[in-house]
Symmetry: D2
Subunit: 254 residues, 4 copies
């Protein structure tokens, strides 16, 4: 990512993948040019975030990682709905409406979409199928996040838009759901990517309405309630846009 900076500009980045239950970071590089003091902290979702002030002139961020990830995402047909009283404390906040996921508006719709499906994984699977069939995935159609209500009206959107609507529908059924940003191997066209996870059967499962089947190759950069929490860069002061942004995801031969 390259920027041309006019005046000193504070940035908060979320560009370092974290090893966790779903991926192992074997190698990670994170270079800032020119060298600038950077401070890394963990936000309340557990994401590694980087703070810095970019000085005027050319400013570039180069990151690269080798991550061990699953070949296929887990599917969990029939994994049961977790009763509210049995959810871990830390998962409860993913039931609440958020900036771009107005779950308080979607209960009627989500009940209709999931009718006849077993409570839990099968409901989220029905929601994801509904999104695939009813909301066109149009990469590049949108540069600012819009909210689930707007996505539902427009009936098309980028990956983030489909995730927001999916999340709002899940939460309206009392299923905790969160957005994930990162990379996806073989994504067409290649770009940053966003998808969502739902908490079912005592764990998080991955759902991605922009893809078919359950191919793996997902690399997580961050989790949050919606796009407001997981901007890969937040910048303050006069708006600055990347003059160049190159992304590639390759498979490493074993």
């Amino acid at each position: 990512m390259k920027f041309e900076i006019a005046s000193p500009t504070p940035f908060i980045l979320m560009l370092r993948p974290r090893s966790g239950a779903q991926q192992w970071v074997e190698r990670d590089e994170f270079k800032i040019t020119p060298t600038t003091p950077i401070f890394e902290f963990t936000d309340s979702y557990g994401n590694l975030c980087q703070r810095l002030i970019a000085q005027p002139g050319l400013f570039s961020i180069d990151t690269s990682s080798e991550v061990i990830t699953a070949d296929y995402i887990d599917s969990g047909f029939d994994a049961p709905f977790v009763e509210i009283q049995n959810l871990p404390d830390s998962v409860l906040s993913y039931l609440l409406p958020s900036r771009y996921c107005e779950s308080d508006f979607f209960n009627e719709m989500s009940v209709k979409i999931t009718q006849g499906h077993l409570l839990g994984y099968n409901q989220v699977s029905a929601i994801t199928n509904w999104l695939r069939e009813n909301i066109s995935y149009v990469p590049g159609s949108n540069y600012q996040p819009i909210s689930a209500i707007q996505v539902n009206e427009r009936q098309f959107g980028v990956c983030t838009d489909l995730a927001h609507l999916g999340i709002a529908l899940c939460r309206s059924l009392s299923i905790p759901a969160r957005i994930v940003v990162g990379y996806l191997y073989n994504l067409e066209p290649m770009d940053m990517h966003a998808w969502f996870e739902a908490y079912i059967g005592n764990r998080w499962y991955t759902f991605d309405a922009t893809q078919h089947g359950t191919p793996g190759g997902y690399v997580v950069l961050g989790f949050g309630r919606d796009a407001a929490d997981v901007a890969i860069f937040n910048q303050f002061g006069p708006a600055v846009y990347p003059i160049e942004q190159l992304i590639s995801v390759d498979q490493i031969e074993e």
Copy 2:
């Protein structure tokens, strides 16, 4: 608070004031009738929350506290704006847009309102004055939270509505702002109350566009990004409404 429960209903409450920098809880009572297993946890904002499942029948919650609080809220004229790079990590999330505070829409408006004011406390004070003059405070006019954009269109609202618009305006100027719910001595008419805080001069200051002057007597129950985070009760399953809710705040003679 009294409910008539038809089927077992999970609740998450936020009804225990916490001692902290701003108040000292000398006495606290929290009774549930009939006795029901309750689990208390701390959410990611530091609030004490209570989880329980209400069983069918009459269900009542009685809380009462004696809290030492300031006679006047602090005012901090000329307290300076804190540059993004100097904000504590834990405060950064209060810069982001949230469900009911679409700060991403308000920059133009907030710049206009605060023109000519020193960066920091004086800006937030100008915003609060603007709210007092332009958004009518109409208790009871609204029972579901609406968002800052909607408040700005309607030009009237309840305490939560004024707080949401104030928060959105602050964040659009890169001033961290959060909602506070609790009680206020002498509030007319007596009810639960909501106001907001802004982070200036390295601390949080209290602002309340529903009141004039700086009387104290605020008792905090919880903090959050907006009303979605600080519901004094969140209830899941078929909607249940209190059949009775009595609130009183009295001064204790020393």
Copy 3:
């Protein structure tokens, strides 16, 4: 608790019981005389702690609570040992040696004591029985915490001493164990009390080698690795001792 303070003295207290999985605080009072600014925070074990500076003169702390607690502590015969790899992250630190629990010295001894017992609850039960038979419980025999090695040499001690040795023996078998301080109904002679918990079968169980049977009536004030973490008061500067300390625990008729 009453003190006579000669010069301004910082205190950190741990005197507010917290509602949680094991107890519900129905009523809580916490008064400081004379009134002094107090700040409450949550430490890394989840305990509520209070910070203040006592000014010269008489200084007293009065706390009182009504707590709903179990009539009998749970026993969990045959509850299984949890393999290290299945322990929650947050429990791992309770496997490590600490100031007063030099678990690294006790493996041989703990293996001998627990020989022939099923891994898990039954091992900890064997350890508790061994303590009852081999380390005399002598209230008031000791005013400064001593460590498990010293307790084992002396073969008598106060409640904290028995807990420290129990914890060290558990940890040496890779069973997470922690100290608990609080009150116990019917304790003879009445005083603050300490006991320990061990993590078995995916939950914490209570063990108290100073008592026989499994009577309940335990009120928890704080958890920690050992007595260093759970002092009900930590005071800094020239040593100050309570000139009076009154404790009582009564049963409230339902």
Copy 4:
């Protein structure tokens, strides 16, 4: 690091440096051979820890990092002692005695060593100088951590031993102190290294009684109360020792 494993062995590692206020990790590699599921979590000190179960056979861990670090450690002569009441909550636990730092025993000694020195940095500097002159640094003299009391009796020790005594002396003066493990450029002989930090003038300062002057090149792997918290590997079950451990720290030309 290479091991020969006889039976499945749970490990907890602390081998991933974290970017923070003091260092920036530009590149990081962390490979396990053979490939084994690993889970990474953050402990209560903020360290990145890795959990895994090594299977029987040869098992090796290869890590390598490029870290930007200061050329010289900061010295802060005359930086003032922070009064207890002004310490951040999160620093308070570093005042307490811990497994290997029995600070409760050292007040008389630390008062003597620091007599005539300004409260704060200069006291810790006096302690570090005293350690340099009175406790011989003998790499390899010790393979199990011993406690500050034992170090003080023996009058020689490894880097960890000097750090433990330094920490105990600081804490006995109400100066928060913590151990740090990691790497040091130009350490002779090359090995893992440990030193300590003290909290003075509202920040942490680095002290290392094994070195002279204030050369930089420190790479932090973890922080803790003492060696019990920051083992670079904790292993459970029958003891396993590395059959090979190679460490090198090189300067990268810019």
